[in-house]
Subunit: 408 residues, 2 copies
C-alpha cells in the first residue's frame, strides 16, 4: 500500500464527464489499497473567464481581490470531484488551500508556499477517505487567500507529496509523458521512460510545456518521486522523473530536443569592454521586471565588445525602451535586435561525459544551411538561436542526428 498524490490539470477536469472519469481513475487506485490525495486545477477556461470578468471592473485588478476571485475556480472543482467520488461510493472530502492550511507568503498572484499542515489530511486518509485539495492556492498568515500563479497546481501537488512524504506524485496531463521532442514536429519522437530532474528542468524551461519548472525544482529539492502521465489513457506508465543520473551506460547521450519561439534577441553593439558593463545593461532591464533568458558576451577587441541577450517577445518593445538611456550612458555604438528567432536546444546529462555533442549539433545545422546567431551552453544542454523559419527543420534534423528516433 502506497500513499499517492495525483494532480489533474484543467483539461482533465474540463467537463462533468471528464470529472467522472477522474473519479473512476482515483477509485481504481483506491481499490488497489492505496491512499490517495488528489490535487485539481480549475476547469479549463474558468480561470480566464474570471480574470476577464475582473478586468471588466478594473483594468489592473487589485492583486488581493483577484486571488479571492480566481481561487473560486479550483474551489468549484474540488467540490465536483468529491461529489463524483461519493456518487460511485468512494468516501471523499474536499479542501480549499486555506482549509488544508497551505501557508504561503503574502505575494498575491505569485505566492510561495511556506508550510503545509498535514493534520487534517492524515485524519481523513486514516478514515479511508480520498482527500481532494484545490491546487494553485493557499492562505497567508493573516488569513488572506493567495494564489501561486499560473501552473501553481503542479507545485501544490509536489508540495503536498513532500509534506506527506508520499511514495509518488503523479501529474496527469493531456500528454502521456515527456518526449524526445514535440511529436507534432517530429512524428518519430519517442516517450522517455525516465528523465533526470536536471534534464527536465532544461526541457521545461526550454519550452516542452509538460510540467511547470517551479514544481520540478520543488520536487528536486524535496526528493519527490514525480511521474507524468496521461489523464486520457488508462494504460501507460508515463515518464518518471529521477533524481540520480541514469546508471545505464547504454542510455542515449541526448534525451531530447527542446525549442522555443517565444523569445526576442537584443544585441548592444560596441560597448566598452570593462568590468560592470553587463550590470549597466541588464540592471535597468531587471528593475523593469523583465526576465532575461540567454546572455552571451564574447571577447572584445579594441576595448569594445558586443553584448547579447534574449527576453520574452511580450517584453521586446518594453526592453528596447528601457535600454534607450543605457545606450547613451554607455556610449554604445547601437542596437541590433529581432523577434523572429527560435531557440533550439539539445539536452542530456549524458553529454557531460561525451565529447563531440556540440560539433555534431553545429555540423548538422550547417549541412542544412541554417545559420547560428547565438550559442549558449550549460553542463547538460547546448542552445542555439536561429532564424525562426528554420525551427521545424532544425528540430527534425537534430532529432535524427542524435539517434532519438531509434528505440532506446
Amino acid at each position: 500500500m502506497a500513499l499517492i498524490v495525483q494532480k489533474y490539470g484543467g483539461t482533465s477536469v474540463g467537463s462533468p464527464e471528464r470529472i467522472k472519469n477522474v473519479a473512476k481513475r482515483v477509485a481504481r487506485w483506491k481499490s488497489q489499497g492505496h491512499d490517495v490525495v488528489v490535487v485539481v486545477s480549475a476547469m479549463s477556461g474558468e480561470t480566464n473567464r474570471l480574470i476577464a470578468l475582473a478586468k471588466d471592473i478594473q483594468s489592473q485588478p487589485d492583486a488581493r481581490e483577484l486571488d479571492v476571485m480566481v481561487s473560486t475556480g479550483e474551489q468549484v472543482t474540488i467540490a465536483l470531484l468529491s461529489m463524483a467520488l461519493l456518487e460511485i461510493g468512494v468516501p471523499a472530502r474536499s479542501y480549499t488551500g486555506g482549509q488544508v492550511r497551505i501557508l504561503t507568503d503574502n505575494a498575491h498572484t505569485k505566492a510561495r508556499i511556506l508550510s503545509i499542515d498535514e493534520h487534517n489530511m492524515r485524519a481523513d486518509l486514516k478514515a479511508g477517505r480520498v482527500v481532494v485539495v484545490a491546487g494553485f492556492q493557499g492562505i497567508d498568515e493573516a488569513g488572506n487567500i493567495t494564489t501561486l500563479g499560473r501552473g501553481g497546481s503542479d507545485t501544490t501537488g509536489v508540495a503536498l507529496a513532500a509534506a506527506l512524504n508520499a511514495d509518488e506524485c503523479q501529474i496527469y496531463t493531456d500528454v502521456d509523458g515527456v518526449y524526445t521532442t514535440d511529436p507534432r514536429i517530429v512524428p518519430e519522437a519517442r516517450r522517455l521512460k525516465t528523465i533526470t530532474f536536471e534534464e527536465m528542468l532544461e526541457m521545461a524551461s526550454l519550452g516542452s510545456k509538460v510540467l511547470q519548472i517551479r514544481s520540478v525544482e520543488f520536487a528536486g529539492k524535496y526528493k519527490v518521486r514525480l511521474r507524468v502521465l496521461s489523464s486520457f489513457e488508462d494504460e501507460g506508465e508515463g515518464t518518471l522523473i529521477t533524481f540520480e543520473e541514469d546508471k545505464d551506460m547504454e542510455k542515449a547521450v541526448i534525451s531530447g530536443i527542446a525549442f522555443n519561439r517565444d523569445e526576442a534577441k537584443i544585441t548592444v553593439l560596441g560597448v566598452p569592454d570593462r568590468p560592470g558593463i553587463a550590470y549597466q545593461i541588464l540592471g535597468p532591464v531587471g528593475e523593469a521586471n523583465i526576465d532575461v533568458d540567454m546572455i552571451v558576451q564574447n571577447v572584445g577587441h579594441d576595448g569594445l565588445t558586443d553584448f547579447s541577450f534574449t527576453v520574452h517577445r511580450n517584453d521586446y518593445q518594453k526592453t528596447l525602451k528601457v535600454l534607450q538611456p543605457v545606450l547613451e550612458h554607455t556610449k554604445a555604438r547601437g542596437v541590433q535586435s529581432g523577434d523572429k528567432i527560435a531557440k533550439v536546444s539539445v539536452v542530456g546529462v549524458g553529454m557531460r561525459s561525451h565529447a563531440g555533442i556540440a560539433s555534431t549539433m553545429f555540423r548538422t545545422l550547417a549541412e542544412e544551411g541554417i545559420n547560428i546567431e547565438m550559442i549558449s551552453t550549460s553542463e547538460i544542454k547546448i542552445s542555439v538561436v536561429i532564424d525562426e523559419k528554420y525551427t521545424e527543420l532544425a528540430v527534425r534534423v537534430l532529432h535524427k542526428a542524435f539517434g532519438l528516433d531509434q528505440p532506446a
Copy 2:
C-alpha cells in the same frame, strides 16, 4: 457619522455595470462620512448555474460539497465589488464568511449563525476601508464552509448589523420598498414609509417577497433598524421597518393586502373530536418535513369534527400520501383537498384596537360573490382561503375597501 450595513441582492450585482453602480452608491454614503459594511449575494443566475453543474455530477449533491461549491458565487462578487470600489478610489477589502469568521452550526445548506467575530471588520472600518462581506455563507467550528440557505444574504446583513451595533441595515432590492399590495395587481398600491416588524413578518410570510422572513425575525430579535430600498433608484427613502407600533393615531388601520398562490388545502373529514387528534394528523406530516401554514378546526358535533390545513403546493401529493395511514388509524370519514386556492390576508397592527375589520373584509368579498373556504386570524391579520381564480379581484376590492389607495 453613522455605521451602515448595506445588502445588495443578486439582481443588484447581476453584471459588471451594475456592480459599478453599487460601488458608486457605496462611495456616496462613504463620502458623507459614514462607515459602510456591504453584504452581497452571488450575481443573479450564478447560484442556479452552480447547482445545475453539481447535479450533472450527483443527482442529490452531497450537502457539504454543495456548500463548498455554491459559496464561490458570493466570493466572486465580493472581489468584484472591492475592485470596483478601489477603481474609484474608495479603500475596500473583501471577506468570505469564513474570513470574517461568521460561525454557524454544521447544518450544511441551511446553517444558522452562532456568532460573528467583529474584530477584523472593526479594524478595517477604523482604517477608513469599506468592508465587503459575502452573504449567505459561514464556517462551522471544524472549518467547513456552510451556507445559510436561499435568501440567507439578508440574514447575513442583519446579523452583521446586530454584531456591529450598526445604526441601520439597508436592504437594497429591485423594489423601492414595501407596498400596500402588489402594484402589478393594484396599480394604486402605495409604498409604505414605515411598517412594523410584526406586520412585515405577516407580509413576508404571506407572499410579499421583499425580505426573507428569517432576516426579519433576526432583525426583530436584535432590534436592528431595517430599511428596504431600491438599488436602481438614487432617490427614495424606501420603507423603514420599525419595532414599535406607530404612535401616529392617524395611521391607517390596515397596512396592506398580502396574497399567496403557493398553497394547497387539505381537510380531513369526520375525525373524532377528542384530545390529541390534531397531533395524530399533523405529527406524521411534520415528521415528513412538510411545513404546515394555516390550521383550522371548528367546533365539532356528534363527537366528530373536520380538520383543515394548508401546505406548499410542492408538498401537496406527498402530504396526501403521508395521510393515508392516518386516515385509517383515526377512522376519518375522508379527505377533501385542492390546490387551486389562494390565501388573501389583510395585515395591520392597527386592527388590534379596531373592531369591524373582519366584517368589512367578509362583506367586501361577499359583495363580489367570492366564497370563503377557510378563515384564520391572528392579532394583526385576517387570512381567508378562496378559489384561486378570484385572487386579483379579491386583492383589488380589499385594497380599496380599506382605503389603501388614498395617500396616508
